[in-house]
């Protein structure tokens, strides 16, 4: 090797206690090059960046293995400040800008140019005054390096999203010691034209000698701008190649991989009747923080299991929460031909739609109540079940015997592991809590059931029961099920069709039998034009 690379990562591994999230990561980055890092959610990108930037969470959980070299010297960052001093600048996904400050003030936040004042002799340097002209010059030179049209005197609050992103990047460049710039999904919030400008700026910076690590889900962008590409999957580097030697399809295949479908039951003899459209969603928007839905059109048919997948933050969870009235929403939703009122949680329940929330402990369960009470709660509240008249119908009281019988039936049916039906739900394991959630939804006899992240955080055995149960209820009772999940393979194992969300819209709907990488391509936003098959 004739030159030492600017950054070299060698055999880096990280485990959070017994959970291994990174294994033997090795790559290097040279001056003026752009390295694309891609991978699914949970592939280990964030952990890798946390290590690189010395985030405290790494030290707190026992550090990492392997070594990192900057300019040929081994480094071990314990605080973000160490990383900054070594010349690593990071632009995070969410903005860290002060809205009421100007662009200049934000670029030089806590690194302002200062003037001498007499007061500092007594009270210290914090009473130096700001040197505005010098600050303007410094900020302007940073903006110039980016070659974007950004006025230093504008307030951040008045800037469009794209320009906020540029301000963040300018802040890192204004720090003259920055040699390596890490951009964590900088284009996720940008419009296409803004993204193009950003990519051009990145190229300029690279030409000026700054090495860039570019994390993105948009494979096309990675392909256009990067010199080298590293693909992570399950904490390992599965592909490390110059850009010229790969393609969108190649990357997508490497990312999604071909996982063994261990939990998937065979789609045995399919005698179901897929009927007419049951739920029709037209131009739905949902204002759910972190899962914004911008414009979704869907038609779900009677009797099918419909999957909704996509990366975190692209709006898949928002769809279910919006229709169930749990987040502010707009658009039109028709159920069984009749319009469904939005923003009223009681409306979908009355129409025969139930949901199993992704937030099991928060929304799904009354944690300090018994299993029986949890299972019958929705049915009793909304449908008046398990109530018997007393004193000639003057009052209605709970029918405890019926409640117990019902709970016992579900405990046997769904294999809920517990002492008896009166055990407090809080004491159950995650998997068993999830089964209680399912039982609660089943007991309302819904015609359509939303299930969000049903297998998140539960063990393999419970996972199988949950998926099998969903399939059984679909087969035996003709219950239409919409399953929202981040696990593509899980969706493919039981769903008939799968929609993939991207930037709050449906990127495409494919039959579950399509190969994984086609879903991968939809997820990565490479096919977001013209793929609206709905």
């Amino acid at each position: 090797m004739e030159t030492t690379p600017l950054l070299r990562v060698e055999g880096v591994g990280k485990a959070y206690y017994s959970n291994v999230v990174l294994k033997n990561i090795t790559f290097s980055l040279e001056e003026g090059r752009i390295l694309g890092v891609v991978g699914e959610n949970g592939a280990g990108k964030s952990t890798l960046m946390n290590i690189l930037f010395g985030m405290s969470v790494i030290e707190k959980t026992g550090g990492y293995t392997g070594s990192i070299f900057v300019n040929g010297e081994e480094v071990h960052f314990r605080r973000p400040k160490d990383a900054l001093n070594a010349g690593i600048g990071m632009v995070h996904q969410e903005f860290s800008l002060i809205p009421g400050f100007t662009v200049t003030e934000n670029i030089l936040l806590n690194r302002e140019s200062l003037n001498y004042t007499v007061a500092e002799e007594v009270f210290g340097s914090c009473l130096r005054t700001l040197n505005r002209p010098a600050m303007t010059t410094r900020a302007e030179s940073a903006i110039k390096k980016l070659n974007v049209d950004l006025d230093g005197e504008t307030l951040i609050a008045e800037l469009p999203v794209g320009h906020k992103q540029f301000t963040e990047i300018a802040r890192e460049i204004a720090n003259s010691s920055t040699k390596i710039l890490v951009l964590d999904e900088p284009t996720a919030v940008l419009t296409e034209s803004e993204a193009d400008i950003l990519l051009a700026s990145m190229r300029r910076l690279a030409d000026a000698g700054i090495a860039i690590i570019f994390i993105s889900h948009r494979l096309n962008e990675v392909l256009t701008i990067c010199d080298d590409i590293v693909v992570l999957r399950d904490g390992e580097v599965v592909l490390n190649t110059p850009t010229a030697q790969t393609s969108v399809r190649g990357m997508a295949a490497a990312m999604v991989g071909r996982k063994v479908e261990s939990i998937a039951p065979e789609n045995n003899e399919d005698t179901r009747l897929i009927g007419e459209t049951l739920l029709e969603v037209d131009h739905l928007w949902v204002d759910m923080p972190g899962e914004t839905v911008r414009n979704v059109n869907l038609a779900i048919r009677q009797g099918e299991i419909f999957g909704i997948g996509g990366l975190a933050g692209q709006g898949k969870l928002g769809i279910a929460n919006g229709i169930m009235g749990l987040a502010p929403a707009g658009g039109t939703v028709r159920f069984d031909g009749k319009p469904l009122a939005l923003n009223q949680p009681s409306a979908p329940l009355a129409a025969g739609i139930s949901a199993v929330s992704e937030d099991r402990r928060g929304v799904g369960l009354l944690l300090e109540e018994s299993i029986a009470w949890n299972i019958i709660f929705s049915a009793m509240q909304n449908q008046g079940k398990f109530l018997k008249p007393l004193a000639g119908g003057l009052v209605r009281v709970r029918d405890e015997a019926a409640i117990c019988a019902c709970a016992q039936r579900y405990i046997a049916d769904l294999e809920i592991k517990c002492v008896n039906e009166l055990q407090i739900v809080q004491e159950l394991s995650g998997g068993n809590q999830q089964k209680v959630c399912l039982a609660k939804a089943f007991e309302t006899n819904p015609r359509l059931l939303f299930v969000a992240e049903p297998t998140r955080g539960i063990d393999v055995g419970a996972k199988k029961v949950v998926l099998d149960t969903l399939q059984r209820y679909n087969r035996e009772f003709g219950m239409t099920i919409v399953m929202v999940s981040s696990e593509l393979e899980e969706l493919r194992s039981i769903c008939d069709r799968i929609a993939i969300t991207d930037r709050g819209r449906i990127a495409g709907i494919l039959p579950a039998s399509e190969p994984s990488e086609n879903f991968g391509i939809l997820m990565m936003g490479t096919a977001h034009e013209g793929a609206q098959t709905a």
Binding site: I98, L109, E112, S125, T129, W285, D287, R294, N295, T332
Partner: protein, 367 residues
């Protein structure tokens, strides 16, 4: 549509000062006060209150809202005045000594208050309000039982007849108006407290200069977004404590200036109202919980006290009862504070909604 939007925005933003302007425009003729009397009264009240109200600016800048904890500073100032009275030091020298004695006390109170408020982030206002009540108890205990027994007080005129504890009313005759009349000026029968206004002017310059310092910049950053400020390496907690300390010390000086003008001190009550009236005046000037300027301070004091001066007389002529005006004044100060808090919460909710709608994008907004 944009233009009418701008006009309605202007009315919403300035609703409080406009209401006061209308009320005083109606009440002034009814009260039958002469212009020269009104001007004289307003000048007195400006010189009296400006310092106290100005002391509120810095915590607002640091995002800690309205500092109800300024009564702690007022208590410190009163303790200083009690000592000076006891030692029988008169005139401006007495005021200066009172300020010197009370400064370390005010710094200590401010520091403690800052620490408490750092533990109650997001609830600074209610915490500082209750803290004021609590410290009032401590103040009363010390002044009522400690002074004359543990703390040596010589002058019998100050002490209660039982031998310890300060009397209800402390006479500040020796210092009365000593600062106001330091540089006498009389224009057309109107006395102008030049020295006090000079002090206020210097203080305004200080606030303006302070905004330009590194510490001021850090405070503004902290006030707008604590998380961002911290991630940029600003020592957020320290900055917040400093802002409260500065405010408390200034409130202490403000109370001394206020009392030298009044000439007597209600030992156990003077400080209580200092906070509420200063805050109400600032809000009347169009300030909000998160934004306040020097202009707000002066407009606020003028409008608020104009209504104060004229409403009892107007009430008397209109309804035959001066009490109604007094009632009106207390009712209004608390009402204004409540209104300002509600408006602030409402505006924040609106801003948040607008930000989210913007994020959602144009195409979704149709429905």
């Amino acid at each position: 549509m944009n233009k009418s939007d701008g006009i309605s925005q202007f009315f919403i933003r300035n609703a409080v000062p406009l209401v006061f302007l209308v009320v005083s425009a109606v009440a002034i003729p009814i009260s039958q006060f002469s212009p020269s009397y009104l001007i004289q009264e307003l000048l007195i009240r400006l010189s009296r209150n400006a310092f106290l109200v100005l002391s509120l600016l810095i915590p607002i800048m640091a995002g800690m809202g309205l500092n109800f904890g300024m009564v702690l500073g007022a208590m410190a100032g009163q303790i200083g005045l009690i000592f000076v009275c006891d030692w029988n030091i008169v005139g401006v020298q007495g005021l200066l000594l009172a300020a010197i004695i009370s400064t370390p006390l005010a710094i200590l109170f401010g520091f403690l208050c800052g620490i408490v408020l750092n533990k109650a982030q997001g609830r600074e206002m209610v915490t500082s309000y209750i803290l004021g009540f609590f410290m009032n108890g401590v103040y009363q205990l010390v002044v009522l039982y400690g002074f004359g027994s543990l703390v040596p007080i010589v002058s019998a005129k100050l002490l209660l007849s039982r031998g310890y504890g300060i009397r209800n009313v402390t006479n500040l005759d020796g210092m009365r108006r000593s600062l106001d009349e330091l540089i006498p000026l009389n224009i057309a029968g109107i006395e102008i407290p030049v020295a006090t206004f000079l002090l206020i002017g210097i203080f305004c310059l200080f606030v303006l200069w302070f905004r330009k310092t590194k510490l001021g910049q850090d405070m503004r950053a902290t006030g707008q977004d604590m998380v961002v400020a911290r991630s940029a390496g600003i020592r957020v907690m320290r900055t917040r404590i400093i802002s409260i300390v500065i405010s408390t010390v200034l409130a202490c000086y403000g109370q001394i200036v206020f009392l030298q003008n009044v000439g007597t001190m209600n030992t156990y009550n003077s400080h209580e109202q200092a906070g509420v009236f200063a805050i109400a005046a600032l809000l009347v000037g169009g300030a909000t919980v998160s934004r306040a300027s020097i202009l707000n301070v002066f407009t606020g004091i003028i409008l608020f006290h104009l209504v104060f001066i004229v409403s009892p007389m107007a009430g008397k002529y209109l309804l035959g009862d001066a009490q109604i005006g007094e009632y009106f004044r207390v009712f209004i100060s608390y009402g204004i504070i409540a209104l300002a808090l509600v408006l602030h919460a409402w505006r924040r909710m609106n801003d948040k909604e607008r930000a989210r709608a913007q994020f959602r994008g144009a195409e979704g907004g149709a429905a």
